[in-house]
């Protein structure tokens, strides 16, 4: 199909609903053909941003560019953005064919071209042969395919996805996720995808913008978002992570620093990265459950132990919930073998490698690293 590759540029965008500041200080540049995801909890503003791009809301400040065109004052029906809705929004009074043809008829295309494009779009979503069905005869997954075909058929400048998979069951969700990604890549069309599911975001995206409280928290490729979060919110929202307060001590050389984890009358010595901690005496330490090392050697660094309170077995991973002097800490064991999972109530010892330690500002939550936050 003759799809135009279009970039999206958003600068200094702000949107209010009455007193509520729904979006502020939004700046992003989405490249041609990029699969870009807006990730965040419900109410964070991600859907508002998508709907503002679609033109259903008018921003109070800032600009939106589609390619070279400033679209601030272009009404929604002239923006040529293909949207896929959360609850499918398949027209119930039309057949599958009529649904997909709707946008093409509006564009007054010749009947022959409409027919070609509808058939092609339905083929792309594996719904060829379903033309005459009515939506009430389709499953949720099939309805969403119709929604996708309908949005693609108009050859939009960008595809917009508003949590398109959240109403589908788990298995179908994975299937559709891969399909959406495949179709988008094969057409080379720019896509903006909204989800609250961090796993979905990591798998499907070229880049992710994590959104919270109407602000962008971090933009990056999935690996970066997960491994190198720019603040405590991103670290806790994407993947699992353990956090606790530590007191920073003298330098340990080699870009490391001594620290202490205090709990009750117990003081555990720690070695943490020194970057960004200059002049600070305290911080929040965070590490991911899968980064801990099993150990019983007395000399290993950053050693903690806790009482096992609960276990959950997930096939490839066993997750252990520990009580470390009154703090909840989760650690993981990979490819557990029989007998690998200790009994509840027993003591489990583990170590946190210094390079797995992430530090955040206690008040602002900003990441402490070379050159300051962000």
């Amino acid at each position: 199909m003759g799809i135009l590759m279009t970039s999206i540029k958003i600068s200094n965008l702000e949107k209010r609903f009455g007193d509520l500041l729904a979006l502020s200080d939004i700046n992003m540049h989405i490249g041609e053909g990029e699969f870009f995801t807006l990730l965040g909890p419900s109410g964070c503003g991600k859907t508002t941003l998508l709907r503002t791009i679609a033109g259903f809301y008018r921003q109070d400040k800032g600009d939106i560019w589609l390619g070279d065109e400033l679209i601030n004052d272009v009404p929604a029906y002239k923006r040529n953005t293909g949207m896929v809705f959360q609850n499918y929004a398949v027209f119930p009074h039309m057949t599958v064919y009529e649904n997909v043809a709707y946008g093409l008829k509006v564009r007054k295309l010749p009947a022959k071209e409409i027919d070609t494009r509808v058939k092609k779009a339905l083929q792309n979503v594996h719904l060829a042969g379903y033309e005459d069905r009515t939506p009430d005869k389709l499953s949720g997954g099939q309805q969403q395919r119709v929604g996708l075909a309908r949005a693609m058929a108009i050859e939009p400048r960008v595809l917009l996805f508003d949590e398109p998979l959240s109403n589908l069951d788990a298995k179908l969700r994975v299937e559709m996720r891969d399909e959406i990604r495949a179709v988008q890549k094969s057409l080379g069309i720019t896509a903006v995808y909204v989800t609250h599911d961090q796993e979905e975001a990591l798998v499907i995206s070229d880049r992710i913008a994590v959104v919270n409280f109407g602000r962008i928290q971090q933009i990056g490729v999935p690996w970066e978002i997960y491994k190198n979060p720019s603040n405590r919110f991103v670290a806790t929202f994407v993947g699992k992570i353990n956090t606790f307060d530590i007191v920073l001590k003298e330098s340990a050389g080699n870009g490391l620093r001594h620290a202490e984890f205090r709990s009750g009358d117990q003081v555990v010595p720690f070695i943490v990265p020194a970057a960004g901690t200059e002049g600070r005496e305290e911080a929040v330490l965070a590490f991911r459950p899968e980064d801990v090392v099993e150990t019983s050697q007395a000399e290993s660094q950053n050693r903690l132990s806790g009482i096992l309170e609960a276990t959950s077995f997930l096939g490839t991973v066993a997750s252990l919930e520990l009580n470390v002097n009154g703090l909840n800490v989760v650690v993981e064991r990979h490819r557990p073998k029989q007998g690998d999972i200790p009994a509840v109530g027993s003591r489990v010892e583990f170590a946190v490698p210094a390079d797995a330690c992430l530090l955040f500002d206690k008040k602002t939550g900003d990441r402490l690293r070379e050159g300051g936050s962000r």
Partner: protein
């Protein structure tokens, strides 16, 4: 939301249209009524004389208390008939319960005075039932007055209670009653401590509608009330006697009637706004099968109730085929009465059809677009307009009729004696129902569908036409059919507004009954009944609407 641009679009124009309708056809005439009620009869200067008179003369106060007594008794007896019927048909297997419901609805929707006039033919001064009982040596009490009004009103309005209550009883989550029994309550205890409280809002809601309907009913007390005046008939009598002067006293009575109606409506809104317990229909209660004598008794009660309310309708149909000689029924059957209608007053029939048809087109189209802005464009102006559009709920037909005739009997809007004034009466009286139903249909249509249309490149107007309207279609049409039926049967307002050439069937029936020409009246009533029946059939058959459509009407 749609469009996103701030400019005067089509929806702004529709909002303005809504305000114009409210101002011209509600505020203006009602304000006139208000003004006249506070004007001295002779001099026209502002005064409380009408109000002082109303509250100091027993003649007026009696009509007030009569109205309340009629409404209370009608509500009570409607509950007596409606509750058992609802309970038996919803919880036990009653053969032919669909037919029973249909017949009850037919009685409910029949022209508002057919019952009264039918009971006169049965139990009036020379009624055949009365004569029959007299020949047995039993003298029945006179039917004219309180007894007749309550009898006719009850047998017409009890379906409000039976249908609303049955609806609630059928949608209670079965597991609630099961939970109660699981916790150790006997079934009788469960019924009184779980079932009854759960359906109470529907029961009181239905009862208040019955109260409201009998309070503002004009036709029944006019025909069968005799000297027993209630507020609507008092207002009518005052108006016809005041015709040469200003309708001051009639206006005062109207305002008092409207205030009573408003109190009831406010109560009813309050009851229906409280939590309704009707749940998703996953766990419907079981319909039990009764055996032996119990089953017989339940069937007998249900059939008796419905038969009583169907009897007056059947008598009318029967009488329409009887031979007449002037006002007297003679032996034998023929189509004589129908011939008379079509030769003497064909215009009356065509008027009724034409006026109600035009009114329905207005009601459906304007009601739909107003319903759309109320459901989808809740800006400040629309939020002000919304309650204003509901005013006709509180205005009894009699009051609207008086308001229209005083306001539109002079410039700048001289409409008296035209067909327009009657059409506008139908329009205004039904508009709130149409707006409400359009808005509630829209609430069930996902706004994302409209957004999808817009997103695919269709401008707002086209999206409304190609997406929203087709989805609303069946709701709009079935609502329009109901509006048509109620407009065809409208009497209480149009009686003030008709002239010879704009006479409609209900008015002709009323006049024929008053003159004793029962044959013509029966034939016309039968025509209206058939129209009502066909409309009901179409709505249930082709639009799959349940009885809730009819009680919402």
């Amino acid at each position: 939301m749609i469009g996103g641009r701030k400019r005067a679009d089509i929806w702004t124009l529709i909002t303005l249209l809504g305000f114009a309708i409210v101002l011209v056809f509600l505020v203006y005439p009602l304000f006139d009524v208000f003004k006249y009620s506070f004007a001295d009869k002779e001099t026209g200067v502002p005064s409380f004389s009408n109000w002082v008179q109303f509250f100091s003369r027993t003649y007026y106060l009696r009509a007030f208390s009569h109205s309340i007594i009629v409404a209370l008794l009608t509500t009570f007896f409607s509950a007596v008939l409606g509750i058992p019927l609802a309970f038996f048909t919803s919880r036990y297997r009653i053969r032919g319960s669909n037919m029973l419901n249909t017949l009850a609805v037919l009685a409910l929707l029949s022209p508002p005075f057919i019952g009264a006039y039918s009971w006169i033919t049965m139990l009036g001064r020379n009624g055949f039932l009365r004569n029959f009982f007299t020949s047995l040596g039993i003298n029945l009490p006179p039917i004219y007055g309180l007894l007749g009004i309550v009898l006719a009103d009850t047998l017409q309005y009890y379906p409000f209670i039976s249908l609303m209550l049955a609806g609630a009883l059928m949608t209670i989550d079965r597991s609630l009653e099961e939970a109660s029994e699981n916790l150790g309550a006997r079934s009788l205890k469960t019924f009184f401590s779980v079932t009854i409280p759960l359906v109470m809002p529907s029961l009181t809601g239905g009862a208040l509608i019955v109260f409201m309907m009998s309070l503002s009913n004009f036709g029944t007390p006019m025909i069968i009330g005799g000297n027993y005046l209630v507020l609507p008939t008092l207002a009518y009598n005052l108006y016809t006697s005041e015709i040469s002067e200003s309708p001051g006293m009639a206006s005062t009575v109207s305002i008092i009637l409207m205030m009573c109606a408003s109190v009831v409506i406010v109560l009813q809104q309050w009851v229906s706004s409280r939590r309704k317990y009707a749940s998703m229909l996953v766990n419907r209660p079981v319909v039990k099968k009764l055996k032996g004598i119990k089953s017989l008794a339940a069937h007998f009660i249900c059939y008796l109730i419905v038969a009583l309310s169907t009897l007056p309708l059947a008598i009318i149909v029967l009488y329409s085929f009887k031979n007449t000689s002037g006002p007297v029924f003679t032996k034998g059957f023929s189509l004589q009465s129908y011939k008379q209608i079509f030769f003497d007053v064909p215009k009356t029939v065509t008027n009724s059809f034409l006026y109600s048809l035009i009114a329905v087109l207005l009601i459906a189209s304007i009601g739909t677009v107003l319903g759309f802005i109320i459901a989808r464009k809740r800006n400040l102006a629309v939020r002000i307009l919304d309650p204003l559009l509901m005013i006709p709920y509180m205005v009894p037909g009699t009051v609207l009729g008086i308001g229209f005739i005083v306001a539109f009997n002079r410039k700048p809007l001289y409409l008296a004696g035209t067909a327009i004034i009657i059409i506008m009466t139908y329009f205004i009286r039904r508009l709130p129902y149409s707006v409400r139903s359009a808005a509630s249909i829209l609430k069930q249509i996902d706004p994302a569908l409209e957004e999808a249309g817009i997103n695919l490149g269709s401008p707002p107007g086209r999206t409304f036409r190609t997406i929203t309207l087709p989805l609303m279609q069946s709701g709009i049409i079935s609502g329009a059919i109901m509006s048509w039926v109620t407009s065809m049967n409208e009497l209480s307002a149009s009686i003030f507004l008709y002239v010879g050439k704009t006479m409609t069937m209900p008015i002709k029936i009323y006049l024929s009954v008053a003159d004793g020409y029962f044959g013509t009246a029966s034939a016309m009533s039968t025509i209206l009944l058939v129209v009502t029946g066909v409309a009901m059939f179409v709505v249930t058959k082709y639009f799959n609407r349940g009885s809730e459509t009819f009680i919402a009407a």
